[in-house]
């Protein structure tokens, strides 16, 4: 008899589990008869990418709330099933295998970073499931001829700064810059952007007078600035992550050289960390490209901002907006197809344009997006969207850039 003294407790526990299982099956759905539609994703909620991973999760969560408030997807409530891959490539693969084969989720959303999305998307492709990822801009993502992957941002790295290149190349001949300099950090997210601009400006006849790569831990930009000063470029395009962007501006001010136009990849998108770093007066006229802007007048963008503010407080990170947009893409395709047929969903995405808070998105046959990032510019101490015109928050573009200090 001693053997069975835990039996009553075990039975109670079993009963509770069954009850919990039943309630979770019937709960959630407004109608009661339809099961919730489960969207599975694995995100780096711990480890190296935990900060952007958490931001992506928030973007997904805001989308879930908004969809469910509006009656769900295919008349079913949406339930997110998000697991943590600890920023690890092996874990992300086993996560998506489990989501697909054991949890049998209805739809998939991607992970954060190309590093994790490259192996994870192979799992989805093998299972024939549509895979929309919020951040997977590496060229390696698109050279595998996959049919079911979609990168839900406006452009891959090479095309991020297209609007800037077009703007400069399109200036009237007498104003158009004649020379350009291209310093860039040795970084997979900045180098392709700078190379993209360089090839377009060279094609427009703008001569390259300086083009050098500096390592990630460069802390002193005085010599680089003095070199650039000697080359006297009209346009300066820097592949800057953050400190290097601030460092070069400071050194250019010290060296007393101000180009006619200046573009930096991501450094100027860091709000007041950037303006405090270089001095607000020195930000005037600096261009940068972003996938999303809180100010852009795209449909649902303001609703997204408000919902985020209500749920998480503060202004959303770019990664949260990218996560939300990825979910919007999936939602649009499922609604248009009217079923969960993954082949049809992928086909539809290959042939249609989707409105998102990042702007309209469409894809080529490899799943690479075909638009350009928003072009933003610092004007009078604030970041403004200047192109494309229909969503611009400022009607003017500062050109030529005034001297440092705004004079």
């Amino acid at each position: 008899m001693r053997k069975f003294r835990h039996l009553p407790a075990a039975l109670v526990a079993l009963a509770l589990l069954v009850a919990a299982g039943c309630s979770s099956n019937s709960g959630g759905g407004g109608g009661g008869t339809s099961k919730p539609l489960v969207v599975g994703a694995s995100l780096p909620l711990s480890g190296d990418f935990s900060q952007p991973g958490e931001a992506s999760r928030r973007g997904y969560a805001i989308w879930q709330d908004m969809v469910n408030k509006n009656g769900g997807l295919l008349k079913r409530q949406v339930q997110l099933k998000i697991v943590d891959d600890a920023s690890d490539q092996n874990t992300v693969v086993s996560d998506y295998n489990r989501l697909i084969s054991q949890d049998k989720v209805d739809l998939l959303l991607g992970s954060f970073s190309s590093l994790l999305n490259i192996p994870a998307s192979a799992v989805a492709e093998k299972a024939g499931m549509t895979y929309v990822c919020p951040s997977c801009g590496s060229p390696d993502m698109f050279n595998r001829k996959f049919k079911h992957i979609f990168f839900a941002q406006p452009a891959t790295a090479v095309h991020q700064a297209d609007l800037f290149a077009q703007y400069v190349a399109g200036l009237p001949t007498e104003e158009r810059p004649k020379t350009a300099a291209y310093p860039t950090q040795d970084d997979p997210f900045t180098k392709p952007v700078v190379e993209g601009v360089k090839s377009k400006l060279e094609a427009a006849g703008i001569k390259t007078v300086y083009s050098k790569v500096y390592p990630a831990d460069t802390s002193n930009f005085d010599t680089i600035a003095s070199d650039i000063k000697a080359a006297k470029p009209d346009v300066l395009v820097q592949g800057a992550v953050f400190e290097d962007g601030v460092g070069l501006v400071r050194s250019l001010v010290k060296a007393g050289f101000s180009p006619k136009a200046m573009f930096q990849t991501s450094a100027p998108s860091n709000g007041d960390q950037y303006s405090k770093g270089v001095g607000v007066a020195n930000t005037e006229g600096v261009f940068y490209a972003v996938s999303w802007s809180p100010a852009a007048k795209y449909p649902l963008n303001q609703e997204f901002l408000q919902a985020y503010q209500a749920k998480f407080k503060g202004v959303p990170e770019e990664d949260a907006a990218d996560g939300f947009a990825a979910a919007q893409v999936l939602q649009a395709a499922v609604q248009a197809v009217g079923s969960l047929d993954q082949d049809k969903i992928s086909d539809w995405l290959h042939n249609n344009k989707v409105q998102t808070i990042l702007g309209p998105l469409s894809w080529d046959e490899r799943g690479a997006p075909q638009q350009a990032f928003i072009l933003a510019q610092w004007q009078s101490g604030a970041a403004q969207v200047v192109l494309p015109q229909d969503v611009a928050t400022s009607q003017k573009i500062v050109f030529p850039k005034p001297n440092w200090g705004g004079q």
Binding site: Q51, V213, Y214, N220, D222, D227, G247, R250, Q273
Partner: protein
Amino acid sequence: MKLAQTVLLGLLTGGVYALLASGLTLVFGVMRIINVAQGALLILAALFTFEIWRRTGLDPLLAIVVTTPLMFGIGWLLYRGLLARVRAAPEAMTVLLTFALAIAIEGIMGLVWRNVFRSVTPSYFASSFHVGGLFLPKGLAAGCLTAAVVLGLLYLALTRTWTGRAIRASAENMQGAQLVGVRVVDVAALTFAIGIATTGAGGSILSILQPFFPASHYVWISKLLGIIVLGGMGSLPGAVIGALLLGVAENVTSAYVSPRWSLVVFYVVIMVVLLVRPQGIAGSRLREDVVA
């Protein structure tokens, strides 16, 4: 002209590097402690400067009179609380302990000041003196001058005061110093505290030269270790020579070859020097077998 500008910038940068490396080499010379946390303490001092500057508007270079005693106190407490316990342990233990300390300090800085970049920008942070076609960044010049003053004071204290002599005696021969009546344990605590106090001035200068955040210390500790290995571990003049060499090598390579090669060249110089002079430029060869 280009060469003059490049070398000038290199020497100014090197002067600041010298101050940053001085505490590290002093502590190693006296105590055989490789203080991996030196970089983290440097960033901590920079954050203190930031806090003082943000709250009171005090010039960051004047903030040195606050940050130096503050860092001295922190150094003394760290030695008494932690490092004194591994005094008899092998040198590798001190590396482990100070590495753990560096990570702990980084974590605390992240909690208190968050993981965002901070910048200290007094009116002169991005302006220069222009002399005959050359430019001389004001922040860098002021930083280099301050570094020279602090280093000069440190050198005088080490060579002209009894405490300084006791420190040097302990560095050269610990048992001998003990025999003539130097209280080596107290001298060690004092030296460690002085070594950390140099980060007070260093951090304040660094804060106006570039933006920084808690994890910035990794870049600095690797540079500083390189400098003192090149100059001769434990030698103060060696640290100055090593630092000026790094400053000039970085800038000249960056201007004439490519910024990409600037650090590589510095480490190649270290390798060549160590092949010819294993004790570094100004280091002295010790009979480790009998001293131990």
